[in-house]
Amino acid sequence: MSIKQISVFVENKPGAMSAMTAVLAENNINMRALSLAETSDFGIVRIIVDDIYKATTVLKDAGYIHSVTDVIAVGLPNIPGGLNKVLNIIEGAGLNIEYMYAFLGKKEKNHAYMIFRVQDDALATATLKAEGIRILDQEAVEHF
């Protein structure tokens, strides 16, 4: 069970980021999570949004190059060792994490959420579920 993340190509220069977020703002799109991978001349903005179809459409219309990637969203108790436990499970399954980032939910104050990008979503999901870890689906993320 994976969710859709949008990865957007932006140049690493002043104003590039706000130009992109302006497109989302104008179209009333809310971001659930965001992370940025940057190099000296460009960056990849990774976002989880409340309306994937609308977001990809408006970004495309605005001339942004982007791709949609499957990632896993995991809910975990906001306590010391919470993340460590999840990482140990993923590591135990022999899976490599390409990247990950955290975000907070509005509803469940005592929970933290992580996005993981791994090579094998199905294996990761199954392994985590077997260990009682909560995996969020697209619906859950959009209506967070």
Binding site: Q5, S7, F9, V10, E11, A16, A37, T39, D41, F42, I44, R46, G63, Y64, I65, H66, S67, T69, E98, R117
Partner: protein, 433 residues
């Protein structure tokens, strides 16, 4: 007092020079007509035969030769002597496709060496000098050309070739080199490296430098002269014509004397091919009138230039050409290497990038930089930074093998490259030359 390598030739009367040119041109036209079918065909197409050429005033009747002709003739097509009479081959870098191969008989080498010797003597060289030749040796003509000239003058010649700056500096110091031959940007780099190593110009014996193979400004000349404590002289040449030494600077340092006993220069309108009067700005065209193995008639250099016959204080009577002021095609010379935007485009398209690119050339600390900006495309985009970086490196490698020099590649947003009238501006040259 001005010194010359061949005073009777270099200071000959205009009438004498014209007489040499007339006689040699007539002979040369006959030579190519008889020995190079390609030339004969070109001349026939233009309706001109050797009998029509009585002297330099008939030069305009002859067809032009372009780099494309030379490439078409690769490798032996324009050869005018049997191979057994040739003793050497040099070649252009071949970055724009097939290399141009230039052939030399021993006589050709002798005359070429003379031309370089004239340049060296004009820069003050004598048989007491230590001549440090840091141009590349090999197929490139720079090293071997100045090397031959240096021998003729009787200098102690150091064929150090290019690269290994530390070793260059060591030799310049230990062997007390007095004359430095290399590209101007390498001279500037050497000066900088010496400064960093704490070596002052007072510790050096250098007195003059002969710098060519790329464009350089008067500011750069002053920089090099000040930092190395030398006089810096320009030299011009083309592999197609022999190599360095087609034209050289004298003590006046105000333009380069063309070795008119071997080369006839014309200035033409690059669009119409019409010969322009003296003093006009236009494309420089050369005819080699003494080359045996690889003679060239009316070769279009694509260099935009001006010629002047004003009397030179050095006493030489050869016509002078200014520093080339640009190109009539879109060729760029970056760190001495000829680069065409189309080559960069080929690499981009081969690797799946868009044809929306921009080439930004600059000069930082006297060294040319090349930045290729490419618009990202949906096909080339991936969520994986490592993968994009890997492709970027592949592109840098591809450019290096195509151009023979390293370029920086910057990925930019789609449609971010400025277009004027719908057409992208391909080249931004920020160098002040």
């Amino acid at each position: 007092m001005e010194r010359y390598y061949q005073q009777n030739i270099e200071t000959a009367s205009r009438e004498q020079i014209k007489a040499w040119q007339d006689e040699r041109l007539v002979k040369q036209v006959k030579h190519v007509w008889e020995n190079v079918p390609y030339y004969r065909q070109k001349m026939e197409e233009k309706g001109v035969a050797p009998d029509d050429i009585k002297g330099t005033e008939d030069l305009y009747k002859l067809p032009f030769v372009t780099k494309d002709d030379l490439r078409e003739g690769y490798p032996y097509g324009l050869l005018a002597k049997p191979l057994k009479e040739c003793v050497r081959i040099h070649s252009t870098s071949g970055t724009t496709g097939k290399r141009v191969m230039a052939f030399y008989t021993q006589h050709d080498i002798d005359l070429w060496d003379d031309c370089c010797a004239r340049a060296l003597v004009a820069a003050g060289a004598t048989n007491e000098d230590v001549c440090h030749v840091a141009y590349g040796y090999g197929l490139f003509t720079g090293g071997m050309g100045l090397h031959g000239g240096s021998h003729k003058v009787g200098c102690l010649t150091l064929p150090v070739s290019s690269g290994n700056t530390e070793r260059q500096i060591m030799f310049i110091q230990d062997l007390q080199s007095t004359i430095l031959c290399c590209t101007p940007s390498y001279a500037a780099y050497l000066a900088e490296s010496m400064k960093e190593a704490g070596i002052t110009k007072e510790q050096l014996s250098l007195k003059a430098g002969i710098f060519g193979a790329e464009a350089w400004s008067e500011e750069m000349r002053r920089d090099i002269e000040n930092s190395l404590g030398i006089k810096a002289y320009d030299i011009y040449g083309l592999t197609e014509l022999s190599g360095p030494g087609v034209a050289f600077e004298c003590s006046a340092q105000s333009g380069m004397h063309i070795n008119e006993d071997h080369f006839i220069a014309e200035i033409i309108d690059p669009d119409t091919g019409e010969v322009l009067p003296e003093g006009s700005k236009g494309e420089l065209v050369f005819t080699s009138i003494t080359k045996e193995a690889f003679p060239i008639l009316r070769y279009r250099t694509k260099d935009i230039c001006m010629l002047t016959r004003e009397k030179c204080p050095c006493g030489r009577t050869f016509i002078k050409m200014c520093k080339p002021m640009g190109r009539s095609d879109d060729m760029l010379i970056i760190r001495g290497v000829n680069v065409f935007p189309s080559q960069i485009e080929t690499v981009l398209i081969n690797q799946g990038y868009s044809a929306n690119y921009q080439i930004i050339v600059d000069r930082v600390k006297n060294t040319d930089t090349l930045d290729v900006q490419v618009e990202m495309t949906p096909e080339m985009f991936t969520d994986n930074v490592g993968e994009i970086n890997r492709r970027q490196k592949e592109l840098v490698e591809g450019l290096r093998s195509m151009l023979g020099l390293s370029a920086k590649v910057t990925l930019v947003a789609p449609k971010s490259i400025v277009r004027s009238e719908g057409k992208a501006v391909r080249v931004i040259d920020k160098r002040k030359i």
